[in-house]
């Protein structure tokens, strides 16, 4: 068995040169101080500060890591364990080679795999020079444009080896968001009037709470908790209270939040602030996934815009902090997101206590998916009935379906809750692509399970799919055809979960890995997989481990011919 080799001479020299561990390099310390400037060194800014170093040097050398640790009064281990958790940080130790300055990230999640991600990756790995690193990454939130390759921060839609190579050669590495509704246009169209009323106390918080409850709006990130009830619960706990907005949008197949952000960011900001003021939150933290660089630039600008031109010059809004993810799907889980905002590894917390009671910085916290607060303005202005008046097959409300896969018109389709898959394909997606027969679908992203074409007439909403071992989640719908293998797609999903597991608990950390290995076999040991699945569902700490077996179980149940 291998033994780590360490040169006795090196060790001898090291012991003579400095105290144990890594010595602080004074030049690196100067460089880190220059990057951090006057910004606070408080612990929760650790990920922000790591980004500064990664952005500047395209990697984080151990000397900068040590200097940062010293500046923040943390030990190198405390900083390293955080940096190494997130995919977007490249820690490079002495003697190791730093990655090339430019990275091309090619998505290999479900929709992109179906669209040919792997041949693309092969072509790029062989074709691009050594000066470019090709990385396989999980869902980047642009499934309607699959396959997607991100050159630096620049997303290439329907990527081919040619288009990617061209972008590399022309150094087109930025992502911009330009065509959104500006603050002026938003205000001209009646925007921020409601927020102004709330700020000035002209609209009672009770009336807003009631509207939210009556609308029946449930959390649109996937958990589906009734929004109005959540507001009441959080409001019931003592101040100070925090608000945390989840734009981590990592579920394979989901891209609705980006869609709305790129169109109408101010509607989101207004809804968010109305929520914060109604519930009584002292500060708002927005957690935006790092893959949405264009959105980040725009949001930063627009938040500053709003704060400099507030709707009320008298009544203050709570401060808004924009925090950047760093490449970890698990940070879409609300408590993991809170851990990440606190500058730590994104490891979900044990519940109880729930976030509403003990959340960000230990305070009662109102946590919402971005889209959930996007609709607040409409609900308040148009009334709860407006929202609940939509719906089909006896379900109520609207859902933004992110649809990708083998359909003619993928994209975000705002449709009545309760619509069926078949209706979606026919009415919104202009049918299946040529040469593709509808075979099956993921109703709710990689974690929501898989259903066959024969079960495409079930109304899609919260609660309606659970009896089938599936759920709608964030309404991330991926349609696959007779050209695809359900077994293969389920394996893709399980590997995704294995990669994204935070690593805390045995059933998920080890379970996803063992399941993926079993699912790679030509013949699946369905009995063992099922036994493992039931333990993952019963004993994992969070939803990732609990939902990871869903696609696999669905294949066993609904696609037995493939086994």
């Amino acid at each position: 068995m291998a033994v780590i080799k360490i040169s006795p001479d090196q060790i001898k020299r090291k012991k003579r040169s400095g105290p144990k561990g890594h010595a602080v390099n004074l030049t690196a310390l100067e460089e880190v101080n220059a990057l951090l400037g006057d910004e606070s060194r408080q612990r929760d800014l650790l990920i922000e500060h790591l980004h500064k170093i990664q952005d500047q040097y395209q990697h984080i050398s151990s000397k900068h890591l040590v200097a940062l640790a010293h500046e923040m009064n943390l030990s190198p281990a405390e900083v390293f364990e955080v940096a190494s958790f997130y995919h977007h940080f490249d820690v490079v130790k002495e003697g190791q080679t730093a990655p090339p300055a430019l990275t091309v990230r090619v998505c290999e999640s479900v929709s992109c795999e179906m669209a040919g991600a792997h041949p693309l990756i092969d072509a790029l790995e062989n074709g691009l020079s050594d000066k470019v690193r090709v990385q396989k990454v999980p869902c980047v939130g642009r499934c309607q444009h699959a396959p997607v390759a991100v050159v630096g921060q620049n997303p290439i839609h329907q990527a081919t080896a040619e288009t990617v190579t061209a972008a590399v050669e022309n150094n087109e590495i930025k992502d911009t968001m330009t065509n959104y509704i500006s603050m002026e246009a938003y205000q001209a169209d009646g925007g921020y009037q409601t927020l102004k009323k709330v700020l000035e106390g002209k609209m009672s918080t009770e009336s807003i709470m009631k509207k939210m409850e009556d609308s029946g709006l449930r959390g649109l990130g996937g958990a589906g908790f009734p929004a109005g009830r959540k507001w009441r619960i959080v409001n019931g706990f003592e101040a100070p209270r925090m608000m945390a907005v989840n734009i981590d949008e990592g579920e394979p197949g989901t891209f609705k939040d980006r869609h709305y952000l790129e169109q109408d960011p101010h509607r989101f900001l207004e809804g968010m602030l109305i929520a914060a003021l109604t519930v009584g939150c002292d500060a708002i933290y927005i957690y935006l996934r790092d893959e949405y660089a264009g959105c980040r630039e725009a949001l930063t600008k627009e938040i500053a815009n709003l704060e400099n031109n507030p709707p009320s010059s008298v009544y203050k809004m709570p401060p808004i902090y924009l925090r950047r993810g760093a490449g970890a799907y698990i940070c879409g889980e609300e408590s993991a997101m809170v851990e990440s905002i606190e500058g730590k590894r994104g490891m979900p917390r044990l519940r109880p206590p729930f976030l509403a009671e003990v959340g960000l910085f230990g305070r009662p916290t109102l946590e919402h998916n971005m889209e959930s607060v996007y609709w607040v303005r409409d609900i308040v202005e148009k009334g709860p009935d407006w929202f609940s008046s939509h719906g089909r097959h006896e379900r109520k409300g609207l859902r933004s379906f992110s649809i990708s896969g083998r359909v003619n018109k993928p994209g975000v389709h705002l449709a009545p809750a309760g619509i069926t898959m078949r209706e979606l394909i026919e009415e919104y997606c202009e049918g299946m692509q040529d040469g593709h027969e509808f075979y099956g679908y993921f109703p709710g992203g990689a974690s929501g399970g898989m259903l066959p074409e024969s079960m495409a007439d079930i109304p899609m909403d919260f609660d309606t799919l659970n009896q089938y071992g599936c759920f709608i989640g964030s309404a991330a719908v991926i349609v696959f055809s007779n050209q695809d293998s359900a077994k293969q797609l389920a394996l893709n999903a399980m590997k995704f979960f294995e990669e994204e597991s935070c690593g805390q608990c045995t059933p998920c950390r080890v379970g996803t890995a063992k399941a993926a290995t079993l699912m790679e076999q030509k013949e699946w040991n369905t009995e063992l997989l099922e036994e493992l699945a039931s333990v993952m569902v019963d004993a994992s700490i969070c939803g990732l481990g609990q939902a990871a077996p869903n696609p696999m179980r669905c294949v066993i149940k609904y696609f037995p011919d493939e086994l």
Partner: protein, 924 residues
């Protein structure tokens, strides 16, 4: 379940456990309730004493109404809850968790590293079969560290080691890096352990359930013949340790649950015992060969035979005692002096001082406290009537504010420091005052890197602020102190604005610190050599005492004055009178009443004059006043200041008897060497820094013909006409109780049963008093005294010729003169080379690269060592340990003495430095 005092008074919660109606105690988790009631639930990441993390999921139970299973280590009962610990669903998950973990163990078999792996135990108990899953790719072993073997192929990612490192010891070395199935336990930035900042405290090893972290070289795979419960020979924390012994050798150690350590240990106590098995141990009495003259050079053990010959015990004892007797009878009683040991037992120390007082006939007896807390003790006796601590170290958890001044506890009292760090995490504010920024600064709310030597000015200015802002405790001052008015007048001169440029700390910080200290409900001061080892060491301590008195921060829990005692038994050695000015229990020899008392007890006339202190003995030898010395378990040829001078004295002695376990640097100057017993080879009592008298028990036998120190002392004494008949340490202890009120109520039997008793314990059956000075002080008036201190400079200030400041101290792995630790292969391997620490910019200015040779010279001596770049060191100064005989720091130091306590100024002298040079020859 039997009723028990602890459980009887707690609130209870009624719920159903496995179908039975039971009650949980308030604060219990489900697994604790179940365990208390006799139900076992498998668990791995849960360990009593560590924060429960709930990650392994082996302890999941079914709670009715909950969608998923719940970790019983992290949930508590609520009224009416229905819990099933081994329902089909719960059992299925428990077993699968174990199977998943087992599938990734080396060869999917029982742990090859640990005999009683907890995973293996649960797999067996729950009948988990052969794993049905493929194994992971196993990580490589990391065997880089001399003390600890890291085999991550046995790691189950339970993070017990991480919690042990980050939450118990708070050394912050271990991290949980990467994600998912790539998650791994790492040291620093995934460094091999030997290259990391790991201090080898072994807390992680003690915590690991599967053997992924074990003592090196598979020692724990051997089954011990016996285990012995004892304490530690190193520092004043006095950890309780269990020794695993096989074939008369110590295999490995385990921390015990002592009040001082709660299972924790440091690298020395845990792994540094193997010095006793070093073949260089003295095993036969040795007599200097006829005609071999003494030089000031240190004697290399390789040359032992040229200088010494073996002798029988009779010959050696006769020769030793005979030589001392001759000098006593021809040159006079005062021509003899003795240095006893602060590492030996109380019984040995008591007999040693009795030997000098009744056998030699003078008070020329001292020990290394002279070089340590002598000034603190003098100030405390003067101010409060008692030289010992007022509150134990564990009171830090009750304090709101802790001042740590002139002490580096993570190095010198490592386990004590862990409790200080724990307190800081819980909100206690640590105010660190040290010219250097030491490791504990990470947890300090304020780190005052004041200019060396300016303690009095700085402390006076803090007291000035307290009076200026009316933060003093007037009631306490009135009722419990005297001489306050002159103190108040004295402090007028020391405003923070005036003092700031002197001590280098800005006035605002001084004010903040003053307010924090004065206003808190409980402020404690802990200090060390930085305070005491100055010519104004007594003054420094006077300031600390005044600070506590004027704010009433003494005489209650979480407050007080605690000079952290260094040696494992320096408190005891001082208590039993190994001091030239006082008898046991600090009763001055000059007081006729005391003299009479001891003359009666010992049946001999005694000298009413105080004797010579350590450094005074050196001068006396060179002035032809002292001709013979008996040195037991001390190494003044390394620990005294100005070694060129001191070694001359030792070489000039007519007759030097050395009793020790190794050929120390001092032994090289001897006329006769008597091989003695190491700590693990004897029974005796030892008093730690908290005034706890603790039982040390023999684990192994002394090697060769080495004998018990107690026996040797009695043999010498009787050859000097003392007529002693002690049968063993218990006899001596019982006599000590007659001599010392403080321990009069302790019985050997009770000590043997309870392991640790705190004095004062004056009457049999008393509980012992951890916190003292609650009602009054043991001074004549019952009040504490304010003694003002003027700011004065060190004896030798830097100048153009010698522009840098040289500060000596210690290192974690090496104990003092290195006589023990440099003989431990483990500790020696961790720190093999002589190093001096300097700020990298100062090194740069000297054109020296980190790791290169540096030569340091003072007016008294010159040495060469390796230069360690350390940004924590104050500019313009350097710091070095005095354990390396090839680069003996005390060749450089200044022997100027504090006038009251006679302690030398180890912490400040002037030097110059240059690149290059040659390191001396290491003689051990």
């Amino acid at each position: 379940m039997a009723a028990n005092q602890e459980t009887m008074n707690k609130a209870t919660i009624d719920f159903t456990l496995d179908g039975k109606e039971v009650s949980a105690l308030d604060g219990e988790t489900l697994i604790q309730t179940a365990q208390r009631l006799g139900t076992e639930i498998p668990h791995l990441c849960y360990k009593e004493g560590l924060r429960a993390d709930g990650n392994c999921r082996a302890c999941v139970v079914e709670i009715e109404g909950e969608r998923t299973l719940a970790p019983s280590c992290c949930r508590a009962a609520t009224p009416g809850m229905k819990v099933q610990t081994s329902s089909d669903r719960a059992l299925k998950s428990q077993k699968m968790v174990l199977e998943l973990l087992k599938s990734d163990m080396p060869e999917q078999k029982e742990s090859p590293y640990k005999l009683d792996s907890e995973l293996d135990q649960w797999v067996k108990k729950l009948n988990v079969g052969e794993p049905r899953f493929e194994a992971r790719t196993q990580p490589a072993a990391d065997l880089s560290h001399p003390a600890i073997a890291v085999n991550m192929d046995a790691c189950i990612q339970c993070t017990r080691c991480l919690r042990a490192c980050r939450e118990e010891q708070m050394n912050d070395v271990i991290g949980y890096a990467n994600r998912g199935s790539h998650s791994e336990i790492v040291f620093d930035i995934a460094d091999p352990m030997a290259a990391s900042s790991c201090v080898a405290c072994g807390e992680c090893v003690q915590a690991c359930p599967t053997g992924a972290l074990m003592p090196a070289n598979n020692v724990a795979l051997e089954v011990a013949d016996k285990t012995v419960d004892s304490t530690c020979p190193y520092c004043g924390v006095g950890c309780l340790i269990k020794y695993h012994v096989k074939d008369d050798k110590i295999l490995y150690t385990e921390g015990r649950d002592g009040d001082t350590n709660h299972f924790r240990l440091c690298v020395k106590g845990r792994y540094g015992f193997n010095y006793i098995h070093n073949p260089l141990r003295l095993t036969k009495p040795l007599i200097r060969r006829e005609g071999v003259a003494k030089t000031t050079e240190l004697l290399d053990p390789n040359d032992l035979d040229k200088v010494f010959r073996e002798a029988s015990w009779d010959e050696a004892l006769d020769f030793a005692a005979g030589g001392l007797k001759k000098i006593r009878d021809t040159q006079g009683k005062k021509a003899l002096a003795g240095l006893g040991s602060a590492k030996g037992s109380n019984e040995e120390a008591y007999l040693f001082q009795k030997l000098v007082r009744t056998g030699f006939g003078s008070n020329n007896v001292d020990h290394c406290t002279r070089l340590c807390h002598a000034s603190s003790v003098v100030a405390l006796l003067e101010g409060l009537g008692s030289g010992a601590v007022s509150n134990p170290v564990e009171d830090v958890k009750k304090a709101e504010v802790i001042i740590i001044i002139g002490s580096n506890p993570t190095v010198n009292h490592p386990v004590g420091a862990t409790f200080m760090k724990n307190a800081a995490k819980n909100g206690t504010k640590i105010i660190l005052m040290d010219p250097n920024r030491t490791d504990i600064a990470k947890y300090a709310s304020h780190s005052l890197q004041f200019r060396p030597d300016t303690d009095v000015a700085m402390l006076n200015s803090i007291m000035h602020v307290i009076l200026d802002e009316g933060l003093q405790d007037d009631k306490f001052i009135k009722q419990r102190t005297e001489d306050f008015d002159q103190m108040r007048a004295h402090l007028k001169e020391y405003s923070p604005e005036k003092v700031a440029p002197i001590c280098g700390i800005d006035a605002n910080t001084l004010r903040e610190v003053a307010r924090l200290y004065a206003n808190s409900k409980g402020s404690m001061i802990l200090w060390g050599m930085g305070v005491s080892q100055h010519i104004h060491g007594t003054d420094n301590s006077r300031c600390l005492i005044a600070l506590a008195l004027m704010t009433g921060q003494i005489g209650k829990p979480g407050s007080g004055l605690h000079p952290l005692r260094g040696q494992n038994n320096v408190q005891g050695a001082s208590d039993v009178g190994l001091i030239p000015m006082v008898y046991p229990d600090y009763q001055p020899v000059t007081d006729p009443a005391n003299q009479a008392k001891f003359e009666k007890l010992w049946g001999v006339e005694l000298d009413p004059n105080p004797g010579l202190t350590t450094v005074e003995m050196i001068h006396a030898i060179l002035k032809d006043e002292v001709y013979g010395m008996f040195v037991q378990g001390e190494n003044p040829a390394m620990s005294d200041p100005n070694q060129n001078h001191a070694r001359k004295a030792f070489a000039a002695l007519e007759h030097l008897v050395v009793q020790d376990i190794f050929l120390t640097e001092t032994a090289g100057f001897a006329d006769v060497i008597l091989p003695a017993s190491a700590f693990y080879e004897k029974n005796g009592t030892f008093s730690n820094t908290d005034r706890r008298v603790q039982m040390g028990r023999q684990a192994v036998t002394p090697p060769g013909e080495a004998q018990q120190d107690l026996w040797i002392l009695q043999e010498i004494a009787n050859r000097l006409g003392c007529g002693w008949k002690y049968n063993g340490p218990e006899d001596v202890f019982n006599e000590m109780r007659l001599a010392m009120e403080s321990i009069a109520g302790m019985t050997w039997e009770r000590l043997d049963n309870e392991d640790s008793l705190t004095y004062p314990l004056e009457n049999v059956g008393d509980p012992g008093e951890p916190v003292i000075f609650i009602e009054d002080f043991p001074t004549e008036t019952g009040k504490g005294r304010f003694v003002p201190a003027n700011y004065v400079h060190a004896d030798e200030m830097p100048d153009n010729e010698y522009p840098l400041i040289f500060i000596t101290g210690r290192q974690l792995e090496h104990w003092h003169t290195g006589s023990m630790t440099r003989h431990s292969p483990t500790l020696d391997a961790i720190e093999p080379d002589p190093v001096v620490a300097i700020h990298p910019e100062d090194l740069n200015n000297l054109a020296i690269e980190p790791g290169d040779l540096i030569t340091i010279e003072s007016r008294r001596g010159k040495i060469t060592a390796y230069a360690r770049a350390d940004i924590g060191i104050q500019r313009g100064s350097m710091f070095m340990a005095f354990c390396y005989n090839e680069a003996s720091a005390n060749l450089i130091t200044n022997e100027a003495l504090d006038p009251f306590a006679k302690i030398p100024e180890f912490k400040f002298c002037a030097v110059k430095a240059s690149a290059g040079g040659e390191i001396g020859v290491r003689i051990n």
